[in-house]
């Protein structure tokens, strides 16, 4: 084996830090309106914001509405705005904050509130239905499918998406302009489209969707989506910009599109992790 770390075992003293108190200012309400409510919360060592929200739910506000599943940053259910910043509550450690500080927790802004911290994200599921499905080319002569790791690295980056919709939430095109939702699919769907378009086996044609219905042209590459992505997907550089280039070249040059689909390889630029 190549170089490895040495002396991995360093038993630390099991010192438990004393609990600290924070004020949690949590938005409570529904479609008809609401307000922030303050709660005094005891916070133990190692807690994340979602732990505190659960403690609040168990002790002071049994009916506090919040979505969560995995509590490990894998399912993308617990998106919220913490002190105004869109984040996953399960991956936001309390030691980011100073003791005694007030922590504001509100629902993500771009989607309509259902109750408390839960929003109606059905927009994203409806938009996903419009994407033309994966359509693979025939397998190799022996019936097998061969793809090489270097040809799928980029698409695997897109497949890391946990659908937390934080990218949708911060995208100015829809965050500040509700009416744009009619004609703009948003970064999550661009990542999905890029994953399909750059899949080495795919043969389906999505140019019409890209050019018109998905509203790719609305994106003015401010990279807010890339910055907020908890999976660190390079949404703008690796998904949106290559798609924009593709629309320019292939919408007007069908032979370029056919050539790329037949070769099954994507040779455009971008950052590959």
């Amino acid at each position: 084996m190549a170089t490895v770390a040495e002396a991995p075992i360093q038993p630390a003293a099991p010192a438990v830090k004393p609990p600290q108190t924070f004020t949690f200012r949590v938005w409570r309400g529904d479609q008809s309106g609401g307000a922030y409510q303050d709660y005094q919360m005891q916070v133990d060592e190692g807690m994340v914001v979602l732990d505190v929200i659960h403690r609040l739910q168990a002790t002071q506000a049994n009916d506090l509405a919040v979505r969560w599943n995995c509590k490990a940053g894998k399912c993308g259910s617990c998106s919220a705005e913490i002190n105004g910043k869109p984040r996953l509550m399960c991956m936001t450690r309390m030691d980011l904050f100073e003791a005694g500080q007030t922590i504001t927790v509100s629902p993500i802004k771009t989607f309509p509130v259902i109750r408390d911290l839960v929003t109606d994200v059905s927009f994203n599921f409806e938009r996903a239905k419009e994407v033309p499905a994966f359509k693979p080319k025939p397998p190799d002569a022996d019936g097998k499918r061969r793809m090489y790791q270097e040809d799928i690295d980029r698409v695997q980056e897109f497949h890391k998406c946990i659908e937390c919709f934080l990218c949708q939430n911060v995208c100015h095109v829809i965050r500040d302009h509700e009416d744009n939702k009619q004609s703009f699919a948003g970064p999550r769907l661009f990542v999905r489209l890029a994953a399909l378009e750059m899949h080495p086996l795919d043969t389906n044609d999505r140019r019409e969707l890209l050019k018109h219905k998905a509203g790719l042209g609305f994106c003015n590459i401010t990279k807010c989506c890339s910055e907020v992505c908890p999976e660190h997907i390079h949404i703008t550089d690796n998904a949106i910009i290559p798609l924009k280039e593709r629309v320019v070249t292939e919408y007007y040059d069908p032979f370029a599109w056919i050539g790329r689909k037949l070769s099954g390889k994507d040779r455009r630029g971008g950052i590959v992790e």
Binding site: M47, N69, A72, V155
Partner: protein, 599 residues
């Protein structure tokens, strides 16, 4: 009662949208059945998304020697031969096709140099067998199935909680429940129901399971008259996070050991060499050089004891830490930092790297992880027919973790995702065939619906003042203390008494707030199911007076060949539960031979 509810009509209702539910819905729909998928969370958030290591399937891409017979044998031995042999056979035979099918639907697994699906080592598997995507295989699987289902136009009812199965005479007639968002009710009239509700792990305190794992499937199946088996068989995954306390129980993939990680005690000793059971002695390396050589040369070396089946490893960890040789926070060390280069670790285990870095301030490329057992999976569940997944109630099918039999007394890592695909597909197929043979929608009994509505609304008029979260915390404490990894009869009986007290407290549960998206109310309702399955587990654990797989009795520490021949069956009887011992199905001679060959 004039409480209104919506009515929907389908041929097949699938309850649960993890891997099994999605795969079942895809199949039922493609068989021409009008199908709806009903799930408690948003689509794509089910527990499958958390699966990390991979899907076990004897594709033979890395080790051409691998085939379904080897996989079958590994599965049966991993399950301490308590498995339903026919399910294990079907599973091993069909898993490769189900994995390749995911690729046809757009999944992108990590590749071998030849461009085929790469496979990784895992506990109890003789060859590197798990198709995977780094350590986020479940995400790839659920997203692929989700998108495929969406494109097939299957109706999905998200954030809907089914509370009761309805019958017309002896057969399924529908399902009833509530929308989480509004708290309003809906009736699904249907010919067949597929349960794909997952597990029961939320009844334990240290658990890798999410809020959804409340035993809804087994509890509703019992209510409908179906039988459960093997409910004592609960898997404690050996490697859960233990520090800081708020992340206790979060899963650390077996892939860490599959990719070269090793378990060490406080003095740095690789203690698993001291815990090799006779059952696996001939196939397990008894020295470090052989164990390390096995990763690259399986022909001339035996498997590292770090990759013994999960039940063995969990017991060993428990024993080390109980003997004072554990880590500072009561577990042991899992070390890959000293054994593999940092870039390899980051490439192979990106979400483990991320999880420890962000939640525990531990860089797993530089330091060892502290880990300990966590409640992870229930091998027991609804009794099903091996070929069709039919339960003992007409029109009711079950697939995935909610169904029992495939894994016997202990599940091998990687066999869960393949279980979901293989038996999810079969459930969809056979439920659709059954539904296609039923001429018209069965009748539902309005009194049953009224009863269900009254039961669901009762916590709102409760006056006892019991907090549902407090009851849940006490249930978790009770199961953790008394029905955990190591069991003894007095503690199991303590649990049984405590469960009765918790049931009485649940009668007094009082919910604050309204009906719209009220998690306190949802918890109050889920508690009925959790208490029911906890009782089943405890009763079966008292009954089985031996140690086998996920069931370890300190007062009966050995496996008993007589107990190895029976399942414990639980069926409803006059509102109570009846336990009986029933013989396992007899394995045919040609399969028995596989266990007699020299390894």
């Amino acid at each position: 009662m004039a409480e209104p509810y919506e009515t929907h009509e389908y041929d097949v209702i699938v309850v649960g949208a993890g891997g099994a539910g999605l795969r079942a819905a895809v199949e039922a729909s493609s068989e021409g059945a009008k199908t709806a998928l009903v799930c408690k969370s948003l689509l794509g958030k089910a527990h499958t998304v958390m699966a990390e290591g991979g899907i076990a399937a004897a594709l033979g891409n890395v080790w051409p020697e691998d085939n379904w017979k080897v996989h079958f044998r590994d599965t049966m031995r991993g399950g301490k031969m308590l498995n339903n042999w026919r399910m294990a056979q079907i599973h091993a035979q069909e898993a490769p096709d189900r994995v390749l099918e995911l690729e046809e639907w757009g999944a992108l697994f990590d590749r071998t140099k030849e461009g085929l699906i790469l496979q990784r080592d895992f506990g109890g598997h003789r060859y590197a067998r798990l198709a995977h995507v780094g350590d986020r295989t479940g995400l790839e699987m659920i997203r692929t199935l989700q998108q495929h289902a969406v494109h097939k136009g299957i109706d999905v009812f998200m954030e809907f909680n089914i509370q009761r199965l309805l019958k017309d005479g002896d057969k399924i007639a529908g399902a009833f429940g509530y929308w989480r968002e509004s708290g309003t009710f809906a009736l699904f009239k249907c010919k067949a129901v597929i349960l794909a509700t997952g597990g029961i792990g939320k009844a334990w305190k240290v658990t890798s399971n999410s809020w959804e794992y409340t035993g809804d499937g087994p509890a509703m199946a019992l209510n409908a008259g179906a039988e459960l088996i093997d409910m004592e068989m609960v898997q404690f995954h050996p490697t859960g996070m233990i520090w800081p306390p708020s992340v206790r129980g979060l899963l650390v993939t077996e892939g860490v050991r599959g990719d070269g990680g090793t378990l060490r005690n406080a003095s740095g000793e690789r203690f698993m060499f001291n815990y090799i059971p006779d059952f696996f002695r001939s196939e397990t390396a008894d020295n470090e050089p052989e164990a390390d050589a096995w990763y690259t040369d399986k022909a001339n070396n035996r498997r590292t004891p770090d990759l013994l089946p999960r039940d063995e490893v969990a017991r060993a960890i428990n024993s080390e830490s109980k003997s004072g040789r554990g880590s500072p926070h009561g577990g042991v060390f899992l070390d890959i930092a000293s054994r593999r280069p940092a870039d390899y670790i980051q490439k192979r285990l990106p979400s483990m790297y991320h999880q420890f870095k962000e939640l525990a301030n531990v860089d797993i490329t530089k330091e060892a992880m502290e880990i300990g057992p966590t409640c992870h999976y229930v091998m027991g569940g609804v009794r099903v027919d091996a070929d069709t997944t039919a339960t003992t109630v007409k029109g009711l099918f079950a697939a995935g973790e909610v169904a029992a039999g495939l894994h016997g007394a202990n599940r091998l890592g990687g066999n869960s995702l393949s279980d979901l695909l293989v038996f999810g597909r079969r459930a969809g197929l056979h439920a659709a065939h059954y539904a296609n043979g039923v001429a018209s929608l069965p009748d539902v009994n309005p009194e049953e619906i009224d009863f269900s509505i009254q039961t669901m609304l009762k916590p709102f008029s409760g006056t006892g003042g019991e907090n549902p979260y407090a009851i849940h915390a006490d249930l978790q404490e009770c199961m953790q203390q008394n029905v955990g990894l190591i069991r003894v009869e007095p503690e199991l009986k303590t649990a049984l008494d405590a469960l009765q007290v918790l049931k009485q407290r649940l009668e007094k549960v009082t919910v604050v707030g309204g009906r719209a998206y009220n998690p306190g109310w949802h918890m109050a309702l889920d508690l009925h199911n959790m208490l029911r399955v906890s009782e089943c587990c405890t009763l079966a654990a008292i009954e089985r007076k031996e140690s086998r797989g996920g069931h370890t009795r300190d007062d009966y520490p050995m496996a008993d060949p007589q107990w190895g021949k029976v399942n414990i069956v639980i069926r409803p009887k006059n509102g109570d539960l009846e336990l009986s011992q029933e013989p396992l199905p007899e394995m045919p001679a040609e399969l028995k031979e596989l266990f007699e060959e020299a390894h």
